[in-house]
C-alpha cells in the first residue's frame, strides 16, 4: 500500500482518535498502535508489548514467558542468531526486553531516522522465530544463572517470593516472574514453540512509540512492516481466581543473612477503566501518606521518632490485570525485633483507620503527584513504558494524564474508607525473613588454583 493512499484512508480515523499529543490506531490485523510526539531530542523509543506473562502461565510452566523473551534474540528464518542485537548496536541503538507479571515487552532506542530498522526486525520476530533446541538448552542455563543472581542469592528477594506464594494460593500471582527452578529444569523447546505460536500475534500486541517523530508517518511505517502479519485466533488463559482470604496467613523463610526483614501485605484492587472507581486512587494517596518521603508517617514516626524501623517501604502497583497487594517491606532497627516492628506498623494502620488524615498531609501527597507527573516527562522511555503497561493490562493510556486529577479528587474520608476496607486482619499476610548469621561467616575457602592472597 502506498503512503499516499494510506494517509487519505486513515486521516479521518486519526482525527477522531487524536487527543492532545498522542495518536492511536488499530490495524486490520488487530495491532494497536500508540504514538506520542515528544520533540525535545532527535531520538525515538519503540516498544512492543505482548499481552502474555507469568499471570497466564499454568502451574508447571512457570517462567516460560521470560525464557521465551530471552529466545526472541536467537534468530529467525530471515535474521540469524545474534543479528538483532548486532544490527541495533551498529545503528547506535540500545535494545532490551523485560517481562512483568502480566506482559512481555521489547524495546529499541534510536536516533529518530532509524526507526524503520527496529520495525523491520521486530515485525520479523513476531512470527518467524526459530526456536532451535541447542540454543534453547544454552539459554536456559543463562536464565538459571539469572535466577541464582536475582533471587536465590538475595535473601530479601527469596522472602518476597515466599510472601507472594503465601498471599496467593490459587491465582498465578503466587508464582515468581522468573519461574521456579524446578519448573525451569523441566521446560522443553516444544513448550516454548507452543507458547510462542499461541501468544505472539499482532492482535495480542500494542506498539508504543515516543519521540521526535511525525505520528502519522510512524503509523504508516508500522502498517508497512506489521500490517502483512495475519491475525491469529487467541485462546485466552483462564487464570484460576484467588478465593477470598478468611484469616491472617503467616510464613517464614530462613536464609544466610544477618538482618531480619518483614513483609506485610493485603489484597487490594487494581486500576479499572470505570470512571467512578476511586478506590485505587485512594490507596495511592494512602501509600503517600504513610510512605511518601521523609515527612510521611512511616519515616517520621517509625524511623525517626520511635526508632523501631531502619526502613519501611510500601509497594502498591495497581496497573495490573488482576487484584494486587498493598504491602510493606520493613527492616527492624538494631536491637528491635520483627514482632515489635509489626506491632508498630499495625498501630499506624489503626491510626489511618480511626482518624482522617490531616489536610496538610493530603495536600503534600497531591503536590508530589502533580510535580512527579511533570518530572516523569523528562524520560521518553518511561512515558512509553507507562502507556504500554496501561494498554497491556486492559486499561487506557489516557489514565496516564488523568491520574493526576483522579488523585486530586481523593478526600480524607475516602482514604479512611479504603484503609478500613482493605487493611484488615483477615486480609493480611505476614512473611518473616529469619536470618541465619552463622552461615554467612567465612568458611575455609575452596582452593582456586592460585590459593589465597599472596
Amino acid at each position: 500500500m502506498s503512503l499516499v493512499r494510506f494517509s487519505l484512508a486513515l486521516a479521518a480515523m486519526l482525527l477522531a482518535a487524536c487527543n492532545g499529543p498522542v495518536q492511536e490506531t488499530t490495524l486490520e490485523n488487530g495491532l494497536k498502535i500508540v504514538v506520542r510526539e515528544d520533540h525535545r531530542a532527535p531520538v525515538v523509543v519503540s516498544q512492543i508489548w505482548y499481552k502474555v506473562g507469568p499471570s497466564d502461565e499454568p502451574d508447571g510452566l512457570t517462567g516460560i514467558s521470560h525464557v521465551l523473551e530471552h529466545m526472541m534474540f536467537k534468530g529467525t528464518a530471515v535474521h540469524q542468531n545474534g543479528e538483532f542485537s548486532r544490527v541495533i548496536a551498529e545503528n547506535g541503538g540500545r535494545e532490551n526486553a523485560f517481562t512483568g507479571i502480566d506482559y512481555t515487552a521489547y524495546f529499541q532506542q534510536l536516533e529518530k531516522s532509524r526507526l524503520a530498522i527496529a520495525f523491520e526486525l521486530e515485525a520479523d520476530r513476531m512470527r518467524n522465530l526459530v526456536l532451535d533446541e541447542k540454543e534453547f538448552a544454552k539459554e536456559l542455563r543463562v536464565v538459571m544463572e539469572e535466577r541464582r543472581l536475582r533471587t536465590d542469592d538475595q535473601p530479601e528477594a527469596l522472602a518476597y517470593e515466599r510472601f507472594m506464594a503465601t498471599a496467593f494460593t490459587a491465582h498465578p500471582y503466587k508464582n515468581p516472574i522468573i519461574g521456579w527452578m524446578r519448573d525451569l529444569e523441566k521446560l522443553t523447546v516444544q513448550d516454548l514453540r507452543t507458547w510462542y505460536r499461541r501468544w505472539y500475534a499482532p492482535n495480542n500486541a500494542t506498539l508504543v512509540v515516543v519521540g521526535d517523530v511525525d505520528a502519522r508517518a510512524v503509523i504508516a511505517l508500522a502498517r508497512q512492516h506489521f500490517g502483512p502479519i495475519p491475525a491469529h485466533t487467541l485462546e485466552p488463559a483462564r487464570a484460576p481466581q484467588e478465593p477470598a482470604q478468611t484469616g491472617t496467613r503467616r510464613s517464614r523463610i530462613s536464609a544466610p543473612a544477618q538482618v531480619p526483614s518483614l513483609l506485610m501485605g493485603f489484597h487490594a484492587p487494581a486500576l479499572s477503566t470505570r470512571s467512578d472507581d476511586w478506590e485505587p486512587y485512594a490507596l495511592m494517596v494512602l501509600n503517600g501518606v504513610l510512605d511518601g518521603g521523609g515527612s510521611a508517617r512511616f519515616e517520621r514516626e517509625l524511623v525517626r521518632k520511635q526508632q523501631i524501623a531502619a526502613g519501611v517501604d510500601i509497594g502498591y502497583s495497581p496497573t495490573a490485570r488482576y487484584p494486587v497487594l498493598f504491602f510493606m517491606q520493613a527492616t527492624p532497627s538494631h536491637g528491635r525485633t520483627p514482632a515489635e516492628l509489626e506491632a508498630a506498623i499495625r498501630a499506624q494502620i489503626r491510626r489511618v483507620q480511626e482518624e482522617p488524615v490531616a489536610p496538610e498531609e493530603l495536600a503534600r501527597v497531591k503536590a508530589q503527584v502533580a510535580a512527579s507527573n511533570v518530572f516523569t516527562r523528562d524520560s521518553a522511555f518511561y512515558q512509553a513504558m507507562q502507556m504500554g503497561m496501561l494498554e497491556t493490562v486492559g486499561l487506557d493510556w489516557r489514565l496516564l494524564d488523568r491520574s493526576v486529577e483522579r488523585v486530586r479528587a481523593v478526600t480524607a474520608a475516602q482514604v479512611q474508607t479504603v484503609a478500613k476496607k482493605y487493611l484488615t486482619e483477615s486480609n493480611l499476610t505476614v512473611t518473616l525473613l529469619d536470618p541465619q548469621p552463622g552461615k554467612a561467616k567465612p568458611r575455609a575457602p575452596a582452593p582456586l588454583g592460585g590459593g589465597h592472597v599472596r
Binding site: 523485560f98 525517626r304 575457602p445 582456586l448
Partner: protein, 445 residues
C-alpha cells in the same frame, strides 16, 4: 532495600554506561554557560525550555577519598545528614517543607564527590522557598546529636545487611586490596570502626572544610533564562565561605600493588562472583579515547561484546559479564566481572583471562572497531536526550574540569581512534599477568 517485584530484564544494564562519560556530536550539543561566583563556586548552566522544571546538582570535592582512615564513613554521614537540621528547623520540618512543595531532594556520595540535588517545578511559589531551604541545608546544617546516633545505627545495620550480598563483599574486597594504602581503598558507605568512632565535631569540621565555594560545582538545567540562572546560583551557593579547594589526592601510582594477587573469600552464595582488574585511568587521561573504545569492544557493549559472546552466548556461564574503566580524579579501576554457579568458576575465570589476554595482545579486528565506532557515534543523541542526562554530564565536566567543548569534540575524537592506538594503549596500560583477582562464593559446596 525495597523489593522490586515488577520486572526481570534480559540482561543487566551496562555497568560501564553509567560510569563513563561518553559521546557527543557537534550538531546537537547543548549550549553550556559557565561562570564563577565571588566565592569560587563554578556554575554550569543549560537552558531547557520544554518542561516547566529546574534541576540543580551541587557537588563538592568531599567524597569518601577525603575520609581520614579511622573515620571511614565521614563523607557519607556528613552528606546524608545535611537535611536533618538547620537552625530552628529539625528533620521533620525540613522534610515537610520540601515535600509540601512537591520538590525532590536527594544526596549521594562516591569516592571523589559528595553531592546534593534538587528538582522542582518552575512555579516560583514552589521554587523560591525550595531554593531558600536548599541553600540553608548546604550552608548551615546543625547535625543534631539525635540524628547522628540514629543514622549511625542505620548505617551500621546497612553494612551488616550488605554482607549477605556476594557482589557487595567482592566489590569491597576488590577496592580494599587494589588501593591498599590509598584513600580509594575506603568504602563509600564507611567502615564499622569508622562509623562507630565519628563524633559531631568530626561532621561539623568536615562540613566547614569541604562544603565551601572553591570546592563546589553547580550543574543547573531547566526552564529558566541566563539571568534567572545567575540569580539562582547566587541564592543557592553565594552564602558559602570561599574556603580552600581540597588538595590533590595521593597518587595511585605510588601505592598500587604490582604482581598477580588472588583473594578467595568464602560466602554462602550459590554463585561465585569474580572480579579481575587493576588501576585504570583518570577522567583527563591522554589514553582515554583508545581505552574507552577498546573496552567497548572487549566488554562494554552488552551482548555483542567479546566477553559476552565467549562467556554468555557460547558457554552459558553467566547472566551478566562486563568490563569497564571507572575514570576518577586519580586512576579508577579497570574491572572485569561475572557471576556463575560455584561449580563453573574455574572455567569462567579461565575464559575471561584468555579473552582479556588475547584482546590486550591483538586489539580489535577492523570489523569490531568499525562496529564500535558506529554504535558510539550513531547513538550519540541518546546520551543527551533528557535534562537528567545533561545534568549528569554538566556535573562531570565541571567537577573534573573538562573543556566546555568536550561534547563537541567527542565524536571527532572517537572517529580518530585507530586499531593501532587501541593495541598500543592496552599493551601499555593493561597487564593481564599482574592483575588482582577477587573470588567470592562457594559456600554451598
Amino acid at each position: 532495600m525495597f523489593v522490586n517485584p515488577v520486572t526481570c530484564t534480559r540482561r543487566r544494564l551496562l555497568l560501564g554506561a553509567a560510569l563513563l562519560l561518553t559521546t557527543f556530536t557537534a550538531l546537537a550539543s547543548p549550549k553550556i554557560e559557565h561562570w564563577t561566583l565571588a566565592n569560587g563556586a563554578r556554575v554550569y548552566f543549560v537552558e531547557a525550555r520544554n518542561l516547566p522544571m529546574v534541576t540543580l546538582n551541587v557537588v563538592f570535592d568531599a567524597g569518601s577519598a577525603r575520609d581520614p582512615q579511622p573515620r571511614s564513613g565521614l563523607s557519607m554521614m556528613t552528606n546524608h545528614l545535611l537535611d536533618h537540621g538547620s537552625g530552628d528547623l529539625d528533620a521533620d520540618a525540613i522534610a515537610t517543607t520540601f515535600e509540601g512543595l512537591g520538590v525532590e531532594y536527594a544526596s549521594s556520595n562516591d569516592r571523589d564527590m559528595a553531592g546534593v540535588s534538587l528538582k522542582s517545578l518552575t512555579d516560583r511559589a514552589l521554587l523560591d522557598p525550595a531554593l531558600d531551604l536548599f541553600a540553608r541545608v548546604l550552608a548551615a546544617p546543625s547535625f543534631p546529636a539525635v540524628s547522628i546516633e540514629r543514622e549511625r545505627q542505620r548505617a551500621l545495620l546497612g553494612l551488616k545487611q550488605a554482607e549477605a550480598s556476594a557482589a557487595n563483599v567482592a566489590a569491597k574486597a576488590f577496592f580494599a586490596q587494589l588501593y591498599k594504602g590509598h584513600p580509594y581503598a575506603l568504602p563509600t558507605d564507611g567502615s564499622v570502626a569508622g562509623l562507630k568512632a565519628l563524633t559531631r565535631n568530626d561532621l561539623t569540621a568536615f562540613h566547614a572544610r569541604h562544603y565551601v565555594g572553591r570546592n563546589a560545582v553547580l550543574a543547573l538545567i531547566g526552564d529558566i533564562n541566563l539571568r534567572e540562572a545567575k540569580s539562582i546560583a547566587e541564592r543557592v551557593l553565594g552564602s558559602l565561605p570561599a574556603g580552600d579547594a581540597a588538595p590533590p589526592l595521593p597518587r595511585v601510582a605510588d601505592v598500587a600493588p604490582r604482581g598477580r594477587i588472588e583473594q578467595v573469600l568464602a560466602h554462602p552464595s550459590t554463585q561465585t562472583h569474580l572480579m579481575i582488574g587493576e588501576s585504570g585511568m583518570t577522567r583527563n587521561d591522554p589514553d582515554y579515547f583508545p581505552l574507552y573504545l577498546g573496552n567497548f569492544v572487549l566488554g562494554g557493549s552488552g551482548l555483542v561484546s567479546r566477553l559476552s559472546q565467549e562467556v554468555r552466548e557460547k558457554r552459558s556461564l553467566s547472566y551478566s559479564v562486563y568490563s569497564y574503566f571507572m575514570p576518577l580524579r586519580e586512576p579508577g579501576p579497570f574491572l572485569l566481572g561475572l557471576q556463575t554457579k560455584n561449580s563453573q568458576r574455574a572455567e569462567a575465570l579461565a575464559v575471561v583471562r584468555r579473552v582479556l589476554k588475547e584482546f590486550t595482545e591483538n586489539g580489535p579486528t577492523p570489523e569490531e572497531l568499525a562496529a564500535a565506532k558506529k554504535n558510539v557515534t550513531g547513538g550519540f543523541p541518546l546520551r543527551i536526550d533528557s535534562n537528567k542526562k545533561i545534568s549528569e554530564y554538566l556535573t562531570v565536566i565541571g567537577f573534573y574540569g573538562l573543556p566546555l567543548t568536550y561534547l563537541d569534540d567527542f565524536i571527532p575524537r572517537i572517529e580518530a581512534v585507530t586499531a593501532g592506538q587501541i593495541r598500543d594503549a592496552f599493551r601499555r596500560r593493561v597487564h593481564p599477568e599482574h592483575m588482582l583477582t577477587v573470588v567470592v562464593g562457594g559456600g554451598g559446596e
